[in-house]
Amino acid sequence: MVVQIEILKSLPYCSGLSTAELDAIREFIFERTVGKGEIILLDGEPAEAIYFVVSGVIKIFKTSMEGKEQIITILRPRESFNDVPIFDSGPNLVSAQAMTPVVLYGIKKENVEVILRDYPQIAPNIIKVLAGQMRHLVSLIEDLSFKNVLGRVAKILLEPPGGDGAVRPRLTQQDMAAIAGTAREMIGRSLKALEGYGVIKVDRHRIVIMDKKALQEIAGLAT
């Protein structure tokens, strides 16, 4: 399928480029279709291309040696990934998996160098995109390193705000993230950890507190 100028125009990398310039760049771009659940690239493997999401949703993650997964971010249309390894010539930094059927535009590493040489006006756009990614990553590091998110989540489960005592409000993971002052990804991780400790059980849309005393200790509420 032909790479579409209108889609290129909507990409942050291509902001401010003329139609003629986009038309010239488009010869370096390939389209790739990925099925739901398919792994697009793996952490540590040689980096081959930078990708832009045209349609669908991508999960960006890292996996520990023990098989534990940490979601770095979720990407939607117009966002890019695998930027850093293409620019610093290192291996893939993360893994990427399609959460839905996905269409990607890709630029091979050697062609990125040609584009940057011939169209240097694209550089400020790239810097802005990378700065945004850096900001997100620093925020995630802050959450993982300094915040006792587990304790905050335990407290939210014991004393969900907004209830009148008798009626406990229903909360989404996004609600809990906003209350705890953290990212949604940290809530899922915390709930899994609490379930692993046996203090809660997640049963579809119900979170059942199995060991209130233990949960109070985690929350720092034990007397």
Partner: protein
């Protein structure tokens, strides 16, 4: 009645990203708005809520304390 994700019709822009991520086929697009069909196959994975760019889907958890 089976508990299902809630759609805020005013926020939904009909992008359909949630349909792509749903494993139980509970979500459908009708008149450019997402509708939810009750199904026991919905495992409350909350991925529809994750991917929605408009915050139009809520998969709220009921928090209960198990009686000793």
């Amino acid at each position: 009645m089976i508990e299902m994700p809630e759609i805020d019709r005013e926020k939904c822009n009909g992008c359909g990203l949630c349909i792509g991520v749903c494993y139980c086929q509970a979500l459908k697009l009708a008149n450019n708005i997402i509708t939810v069909t009750e199904t026991e196959k919905c495992g409350w994975c909350t991925q529809c809520e994750v991917v929605c760019p408009m915050g139009a889907i809520r998969c709220a958890f009921e928090i209960v304390i198990e009686e000793a």
